[in-house]
Symmetry: C2
């Protein structure tokens, strides 16, 4: 074929492997390839190696900053292995996620990381039969034989409630996302358990449910403020918290003097708000990095036993709930199980 | 193979095509396939159809909300064609983008949409020789034979300058991103041309350059405020504008009374800020939708002539620059070439 194209064998090989060649050389080689019926296709070669050089990540919403942090961490690990990352947005739809997982039968990637908002039996069935490795970020049944990285958002909620009570707040409101999602249900249970552990009765007027989005969070916070008088608001993610901040400032409530405010996920949004938002970190970047590392290890050695990793939450205290003025401008971080404040590296980064 | 697996031919076919089967059936068929050396691989089948069912999008930064709006619009069109979208994050590196483009020689997707921050000859060479269609979102040389969707950020900057001057502002500062990027250079030229067209001399103390990120924008705005006394700030994107808002509020400057503020890209961030930010829309969702439509048309008919589309900028006026109080709470929108305010549908959405 090189002779037919009038180019060197090395040139033809480079073109056919998609790694270079001048426009003119590429045209010549491609024409010669078409004449002889050659398919210039890495896909054909991957039939031998069974490696695509691609790793997929399936997340519900590529616009949510919590997934952005996770994606960036995953991409760094995947790139360091010489592979490329493909990102799928599933919209959080079970049908869309399970269709993707079933598509793995086609081996179009070397492995997949999936972070479903809900885990169903269909998810698990598709993962168990997949011929390529899958790592799940999120909650799984205890006996699922699947590589898994998780956090504990219930104890993350407790960190925030403890912090607000320690600062002297007595009427903590809670703005949550849908209760039929794994994070919504876990955060609701965590909020109720945290109050109960302090002997504080749960006041249903101080709990409001919306969606995990800015506009829904803003509307839900406004509904809560219209019927109750919280001196603190805990929000189930940072998008909700930014919406709640908007609702509070519109009503000229001072943050944190009148109402202290804490978000969750500790995304870039928390630091972009004014005042900067305290937020419970669920370690999304760390979870992403570990998930990618587990996946690469699994690709290298399919016979590893299933592994399960836990990333502990922490609380970044910033101006929106810093009533004692103890957090420096750089913020401080409260780790699970300890109350000792230490400087937040995330806060200092800016 | 169906007989060897002890299942029906229909079941075996479903499993091998990755479209279903119980876990037990899948295991049986897969074992039989391994015995006979069958490669259960859509990739093998794609050698016949030469269609992958995948469309790729390459953007610099999946965390920038302007790309999120574009991604969501592209994804909607791609999904409606029955294909799946793969997103690549390139970090804005020319080497990474051109490597992706060269990889198209492998036909791992049916087509690609790429939105480079800089366009080099290497980009164009790789696009021209690609065996699958490529659509570029962004500026291209006039004679490049490539499907293209673009906007005109220079005239977008002029919309903002005209608006601020009409509101009586006289010392408009400009916080830009790097001048060696296509958007940075175009916005710098647009700002200077807009002032000149009004007979206003350019004051270099009122121009500051950072990066297209929040933290860099905040630092750049602080530098500008330390040496000059603007009564308005125009920022080259919304991340910079949110950073500038932070710098202004930290110094207790009232927005818009002391300093009016306008961002660019009109992302969700603009509406999440308090006060909500005026912002120049460069139609990122519209550009994404049209790029995806052009790509699907090109996939269906490779012989179409190269097409070039233009999406006009507009200005969403919100509280951060609404000095006359003429924009309702829902905001108003100023289109290019006209000064007549009309309600902003984007503002009303929330």
């Amino acid at each position: 074929m090189a002779a037919r194209a009038g180019v060197s064998i090395a040139s033809a090989s480079r073109v056919l492997n998609g790694i270079g060649g001048s426009a003119e050389t590429v045209r010549k080689v491609r024409a010669a390839a078409a004449e002889v019926g050659y398919v210039p296709n890495a896909i054909a070669r991957s039939l031998q190696s069974q490696r695509t050089g691609l790793v997929a990540l399936a997340v519900a919403d590529i616009g949510n900053p919590v997934y952005v942090a996770m994606m960036r961490a995953i991409e760094a690990v995947v790139a360091s292995s010489g592979r490329q990352l493909l990102v799928h947005a599933t919209g959080g739809e079970v049908a869309s996620e399970t269709a993707l997982l079933r598509r793995l039968a086609n081996r179009y990637v070397d492995g997949m990381i999936v972070s479903p908002i809900r885990i169903t039996d269909e998810h698990l069935d598709a993962i168990v039969v997949s011929p390529v490795p899958v790592v799940v970020v999120g909650q799984l049944p205890a006996d699922a034989p699947v590589d898994n990285v998780r956090t504990d958002s219930r104890s993350g909620v407790a960190l925030a409630v403890d912090h607000l009570l320690a600062a002297g707040r007595q009427r903590i409101g809670f703005v949550n996302g849908p209760l039929d999602t794994v994070p919504g249900a876990a955060r609701d249970a965590g909020f109720r358990a945290a109050l109960t552990s302090h002997g504080i009765p749960v006041d249903e007027r101080l709990i409001e449910v919306g969606d995990f989005q800015y506009a829904a969070g803003r509307a839900a916070a406004a509904r809560l403020l219209a019927r109750a008088d919280p001196d603190a608001l805990l929000c189930a993610n940072d998008l909700i918290a930014v919406g709640a901040l908007h609702a509070l400032l519109t009503e000229e409530r001072r943050v944190p003097q009148d109402v202290a405010l804490v978000g969750m996920d500790d995304t870039e949004l928390a630091q972009m708000a004014f005042p900067q938002l305290s937020s419970v970190s669920l370690g999304s970047a760390t979870r992403g990095r570990r998930a990618a590392e587990l996946l690469l290890e699994r690709i290298a050695d399919p016979d590893l036993p299933p592994r399960r990793e836990h990333v502990a939450p922490s609380l970044a205290v910033r101006a929106s709930s810093d009533l004692a003025g103890t957090a420096s401008r750089a913020g401080m971080r409260i780790e699970q199980g300890g109350r000792a404040p230490e400087p937040s590296t995330q806060g200092r980064r800016r």
